[in-house]
Symmetry: C2
Subunit: 329 residues, 2 copies
DNA sequence: TCTGTATGTGTAATCGGTTACACACAAAAG
DNA sequence: CTTTTGTGTGTAACCGATTACACATACAGA
């Protein structure tokens, strides 16, 4: 690989001049600039990011921490972040914390030691002390925070919405699945649903699904029908769990949506392919990713943030696991 | 952040000694070592990876290029790579090329300029000139190569297997979906299926699905039933496409598996939740990831590779989109 | 006593960039 | 004609690590 010295020699100038030319800082004569550009092209020179980063204490890398890359919701977030970063010349590196604290700490450390210029975390453990001592900006994604800028969907409204739609469509013995307590969004949507059900004066049971992972989703589904065999409406903690429930419902012979309505949460791409296609509360994952990226870029550029907490709306996506309701507009 | 100088000062030695102590190179007196350890602990010192990397021209980072993070098959691969790397003290950074050439080139460049110590690529464009001029080892994942070590599943056998199972289970007007030509694995499994169908002397049509993405899968599914309304067996190019076909089959009122059998490819976690649950050819994605990681680590350590091309077996997973067959053992 | 080897440590160069500062020169201002 | 200001460029220090090399000491064997 060619270095700045090679370029300087070839162009017959000093490295300082080359550096100035590259970075458009200070004066460089038009003619010298041409010489340098020429040398750069001939040698196919690319500035060494590591050396730059060592001096500047900043790279062009953005770190993104995801709690579980296998849950399709998170790749969707990542795509949003990536596209926005791409457009601004930043590079995204993804760390998959796998819902494990030590992995997450490892990644934060790795990001620090590699001088990332900013960090977006969609992790559950955002309260970590590691997040306090960062020398670069942090944006929390898919959760809120007092201390840091954040982007999230309106989980509470989503929970209310899910409950309302289910009730309006005639379910009366509802089972409400509560996601892992660590996930703030899970708590929000749970609370939303509870509040709505209370105020609608509808009976409901609560079951906790202590994880969002595929492997365990099947287990929750089985547990659901054992504990509450005559439930006629399920508000699932997310789409993965909802998928497992649909599957199990078929197995135990429940007709959907006639005998059992189900509403998921997230609207991952797969939900439309389920049978019956899953009615769900959509989170605009891609947009959330983009917004988080924008927020981070603003901070990196030292701009003032007019709003530190961006909340995006959720939306009911009507498909086949809910009946036609007497729909209030 | 504390630097090596701070540690040296606190321990009352030179930076060289500290460096030797940290890296266990050269002589360091037991007593001095203790002093240094003590200083490191007190200052909470962590060597700056960027500075190290600048000198050594190596980091502890491994790059992984995925063609599409949204296809659940790839996160699964990534998890395998990650777990193995984690165990060896390497850090994984993921780049999502999004099946776009320029993004992929960008990522290779980013990885180079950040001194990754090795690269695993599951991209379609492994023929790229960028891959030739690497100064660090490369392992190709989910595809083969003459020039580079690679890990892949036996797509050809998978194609044959899919065709054989479908024929054995009584489909006679088979439609064979051909995945994107860029994907070598897609070509392999296509060829396997073709060979098997020829030798079994079974009629079949071919339809090309020029992408594996969700958004388009639905389109292929519709096209399938328009073009070949009386097909009674589909060999899908992957599970995502298969999911779309199941969905569409419901819509047009085909009974599965009685009137229509479907076999997918990959066995992504979602396949079990489809209705009917998808019979598919399983690729051991997680293991593939691990093997690729092992291969890369061996190269990094300068070990001899006994085999440069690792092929993992595929497996027929019988679920509900295929009928009970007169099963030859 | 002299030489050779093993042990322990520090100085300074190096990796590939960036930038403060000094200096040279030209044109404009006084 | 001197002073100021704006351009243009090079020298060298610096970012935070690693390591070649020099040097000092201790102890062995001759």
């Amino acid at each position: 690989m060619a270095t700045i010295k090679d370029v300087a020699k070839k162009a017959g100038v000093s490295v300082a001049t080359v550096s100035r030319a590259i970075n458009d800082k200070g004066y460089v004569h038009e003619d010298t600039r041409k010489l340098i550009d020429e040398a750069i092209r001939e040698l196919n020179y690319k500035p060494n990011e590591v050396a730059r980063s060592l001096f500047n204490k900043k790279s062009r890398l953005i770190g993104l921490i995801l709690p579980d890359i296998r849950n399709p919701f998170f790749p969707e977030l990542a795509r949003g972040v990536e596209d926005e970063m791409q457009a601004h010349g930043f590079r995204l590196i993804i760390g998959n914390a796998d819902e494990q604290l030590d992995k997450e700490i490892d990644y934060i450390e790795t990001f620090k030691l590699n001088n990332v210029i900013g960090l977006i975390s969609a992790s559950t453990n955002a309260v970590l002390s590691q997040y306090k001592s960062l020398s670069f900006p942090l944006v929390l994604l898919d959760r809120t925070s007092e201390e840091h800028p954040s982007v999230h969907a309106d989980g509470y409204a989503g929970g209310r919405l899910a409950a309302r739609e289910l009730v309006n469509r005639g379910s009366s013995r509802i089972t409400l699945l509560k996601g892992p307590v660590e996930f703030q969004t899970a708590r929000d949507r749970f609370k939303g649903a509870v509040d709505e059900l209370y105020s609608a004066n509808v009976e409901f049971d609560v079951m906790t699904t202590a994880s969002f992972a595929f492997q365990e989703a099947e287990y929750w589904a089985k547990e659901l029908f054992e504990k509450y065999p005559d439930t006629d409406g399920v508000i699932a903690s997310n789409d993965v769990v909802a998928a497992a429930i649909i599957h199990e419902a078929h197995r135990v012979g429940k007709k959907m949506p006639e005998e059992l309505q189900i509403i998921g949460f997230d609207d991952i791409p797969f939900s439309q392919f389920l049978y019956p296609a899953l009615s769900t509360i959509r989170q605009p994952a891609y947009d959330m990713g983009r917004e988080a990226a924008k927020l981070l870029i603003k901070q990196i550029n030292g701009e003032k943030l007019e709003s530190k907490r961006i909340q995006l709306p959720v939306q009911f996506i009507e498909r086949q696991t809910t009946r036609k309701g007497d729909h209030h507009d």
